[in-house]
Subunit: 347 residues, 4 copies
Amino acid sequence: MLSPIELRSDNAAGAAPELVAAIANANHSSALAYGGDAVTARLHEVAQEVFEHPEAHVFPVVSGTAANSLALSALCPPWGSVVCHETSHIYVNECGATSMFGGGAVIRGIPGDGYKVHPDGLRRVFATTNWCDAHHSQPSVLSLTCPTDFGTVYTPAEVAALSAVAAERSLRRHLDGARIANAVVANGCTPAELTWRAGVEVISLGAIKNGAVSTDAIVSFDPEVNEALGYRLKRSGHVASKMRFQSAQLIAYLTDGLWLRLAGRSNAAMARLAAGLAGVDGVELLNDPQANMLFLHVGEDVERRLADDAALLFYGMGGGVIRFVTSFQTTDDDVDEVLRRFTSVVG
Amino acid sequence: MLSPIELRSDNAAGAAPELVAAIANANHSSALAYGGDAVTARLHEVAQEVFEHPEAHVFPVVSGTAANSLALSALCPPWGSVVCHETSHIYVNECGATSMFGGGAVIRGIPGDGYKVHPDGLRRVFATTNWCDAHHSQPSVLSLTCPTDFGTVYTPAEVAALSAVAAERSLRRHLDGARIANAVVANGCTPAELTWRAGVEVISLGAIKNGAVSTDAIVSFDPEVNEALGYRLKRSGHVASKMRFQSAQLIAYLTDGLWLRLAGRSNAAMARLAAGLAGVDGVELLNDPQANMLFLHVGEDVERRLADDAALLFYGMGGGVIRFVTSFQTTDDDVDEVLRRFTSVVG
Amino acid sequence: MLSPIELRSDNAAGAAPELVAAIANANHSSALAYGGDAVTARLHEVAQEVFEHPEAHVFPVVSGTAANSLALSALCPPWGSVVCHETSHIYVNECGATSMFGGGAVIRGIPGDGYKVHPDGLRRVFATTNWCDAHHSQPSVLSLTCPTDFGTVYTPAEVAALSAVAAERSLRRHLDGARIANAVVANGCTPAELTWRAGVEVISLGAIKNGAVSTDAIVSFDPEVNEALGYRLKRSGHVASKMRFQSAQLIAYLTDGLWLRLAGRSNAAMARLAAGLAGVDGVELLNDPQANMLFLHVGEDVERRLADDAALLFYGMGGGVIRFVTSFQTTDDDVDEVLRRFTSVVG
Amino acid sequence: MLSPIELRSDNAAGAAPELVAAIANANHSSALAYGGDAVTARLHEVAQEVFEHPEAHVFPVVSGTAANSLALSALCPPWGSVVCHETSHIYVNECGATSMFGGGAVIRGIPGDGYKVHPDGLRRVFATTNWCDAHHSQPSVLSLTCPTDFGTVYTPAEVAALSAVAAERSLRRHLDGARIANAVVANGCTPAELTWRAGVEVISLGAIKNGAVSTDAIVSFDPEVNEALGYRLKRSGHVASKMRFQSAQLIAYLTDGLWLRLAGRSNAAMARLAAGLAGVDGVELLNDPQANMLFLHVGEDVERRLADDAALLFYGMGGGVIRFVTSFQTTDDDVDEVLRRFTSVVG
């Protein structure tokens, strides 16, 4: 009987031991609640160093949906729209969170090759908008997901080009970085290059998928947004009372490059996996797995046998297409074993 | 130089070691995200046992504000009002959270002795309501805070009597149990007696103030509310992806009476403290400290010296009134030292 | 110098004299406010007769956007989605009104030939929905626009077929009838056949475009929705205090078939216009003008000359496509004059 | 058998013939919809003249609730509170409209003699506010109702003093002028003196209670608010498509002092009524009827006989207190007849 191998989601992975330890280490003496503690004060400094931005401010929240929808509601007026790719998480997977927090703000998903927004796509939105006409939600924010929900990655140059187009019509710029560490590693760039240096004003900083226990975060590079964010988080119940336990995780995560090492492992595992699968007959890779996600067409028969006979845990996308996601916990041995089982099923 | 002693808030206390350990213990193998894991499945069973209710369902959330406002938004139509005491947290301290999640539902704070709602107060609301008149928000939920924000405690009989009055006009019943363990201990009752057996349908189950790291919860005793709660939590970003780490804390918290032992310690520390202070000249106790909170009038001069000379950490309420809150971490030695310093300041 | 001829919109037409007179006729003695008057009581009876439904209930509102968004917010939970055609007014032209009133409910526009939703389009939505998954807004209402914003008309049989598909997954059925009188006339059916007999539960009853001064309406065929509608209208400021002046217009409008005669005139004017244009060289009719709207491709040069030289008032849609809309005020002489000017420009 | 005399509400009165005529007079030729017409353009000019403010801008809406709640939602952030008197319409009678449109903004009713907010009451709010603390809705707008719902009237000096206090903490200033014409007449001041010259930035301009058919309005004296108001009105369905019919009423209303003459009649009728009642044994006048409302204690027995035997139409407030409201339609003969019947009942 084969033991299952986890490839469903990095959300199904555990927590990095360093982050579990960070919680225990923060459990000393008394501390003011709601972020008034020394650990959280230190977190802002750490983020300022890591992002090379003197005013970076961190708002720990318990999920990526919270980070996205609250950040967007602070950037978008109720009569605005958030422009994003039609496959993005905020458009497809958050049950209207941004519209709810945004007082009826609308999300507008647009097509684009490689699951990415492109400048011409954004310009097409502009060209078909009735600007300043109250009948129509006004494009107000550009939200990029990087890596995308299909594993592709914007380069810093691409983000900068899109930000520049967005700025032409005064759209604010948000980056959904649920897996941003994977994108930074894939690009071989600095965190600053992919974010504020490329014109992004607020990001959702994913941590949970990459090893945190209980916290993601919003990182704001625009101090003028912080007041609204503070109130919006509080009144949505997203200000942890013992915030130091969330902040301590994020400090450990961002310190000494741990977040990038963890992401590096999942990216490397995926690269190894994709390389191994590339040569397998009857398997078609559907995306360039720059980060830690791979979509492949295997056919429904193989799909069933990968699940039933090979004990691989993964998601089927319909039509014989399946998704593999690696995490920081995926070892070379795991990958090799996946390849062995895969070959035996297909062979 | 005296070392400070923490009496500001149980929110300023640390986490119970058992709950920190529970996180580490849950960090094994892979698990489905968003509550589809075995730990969370077990949590519902544990809650069903502890609350003696076969359909109790637990929704872990990251704060009491989230628990209150989301629970209330699921119970109250947008044109409804939530009736509560005018000192209650939902009315005073949550920045309109319930109105935001509730689509403009209104909170109506009413007076009442002992910081508690009383049946005649509730009946007065009923008598002055224009029922079924669309000009007026319709009373739709009764929310009781137990212990109150001023440290008093409803008995199960009081809750039952209020629930019965509420039910006369079909108001739903919610209990804000940010410190419910302290109330259960103070009453010497069972959790069931203070909640669903007394007519309460949904509670906010506080855990963080009493030793949890990162999770409070909603506990619903009405399965018909659960669908709405599920959607409301998701779209407000309150469904943790690695929920097992939240669920594991709650399991440890509720298992073998840990939550009641922790609350017992803070109640006992407060009883010892109040007994010691009762005899001090010039000090007036302003409430019966049934749980872990005490308000006392000491005068502004003593207040300043308690802070400056005695190194006590506490909140001033204005006019020489101060608040002391004990936690599960407050030891008998702490209390005795507080009393020593207090006497030396006053004496 | 030619005098301009109005073809921009039926919104640019005046009011029917009968409805102006109805206001004056209702201006007698005293009457209770907010709908508690005898005129409004009579309105419900009139609607019940006209729609042959014993429980039809009318809510006068000041605009079609109000009718649509408030009706939809009463039918759709905050975590639901409203499925409609991607060209429909609620999706394109109401600035997120339904999402605002609906607490973040989402509108989902889908494609479909003839600017209409088709059963297979709706089934495709169903097939790609993750039902009961809180990550995804749940399809909850089907909203059909009839006539569509491009002048095409659903038949009663088409509405009934779509309602049946919608009902398979418990979607509520709404019809945006901003120009419903034109559709009833075009179909040669009864109002009942196009609405509740075809499975529609709530409609937006347009009147202003077709001759009213200051009121459209929601007509509900489901008494269970009325309570929510009553509260939602009041708290959105859509309950006129001297409602009898709105109700009186609607009574006159619905009585003795006035609404259908008015719509009949605009439909006939459009038929005459389309017939005349069909034979003109270089003009391409882009839709079958079943109601009172026509889209035609004339080229940018002709478009400019129609505006500048022929003094026709119309909207350009881009790319040399223009829109003509007739109203109850458009006479045969108007049409003939339009055709004369048109020919002289094109010839 | 006596014919009833209307004293319930000015909402129960009819429309002034001049305003009915204005609708008919505006019913000529074609006009752009949604306020793009010449009549509405003229309305802004008229308001600028009447209010002596070069940037006054008028937004016609269908009710006072719409005017209040939309104006307030444009002035108050979602985490703000609107401070007003505890008897004011926005707090008591609008079913949470402002909280709904305001994204969970909170209305805070405070006590004050004469049903008016006083500077010390406002300062007390400031003194007890935790400013810049996200746990607490931040006082953001002062809303004064003038005349109050109990018929008393702020003087321009009182409004100015309150505005000055409000401005100390940057609160915006709104005036609910559902009966503002009655207040202007009662004060013998100019419209400007009671509004923007006294520091008010946006007003709700009531017209319906004082003779309009179907429109009240928001008048903004702050151009920076207008963009938000435009979008908020559109997406709430409060932009009438044939707006000229609303604008024409408002032009007629404001032109040549008609609004003040109408209000003068109702004020004078009330003065005559109050003078006559002042001498009646067993009747206690409870307010100084500066405008057109009077509350008087008559006892429950007299109350019943006034209704049953004297055929007076009025509202009972409980405890033998009744309310009389006069309107522009109340004649001297009406008043004298009321006094005759009253005396005969009491005598």
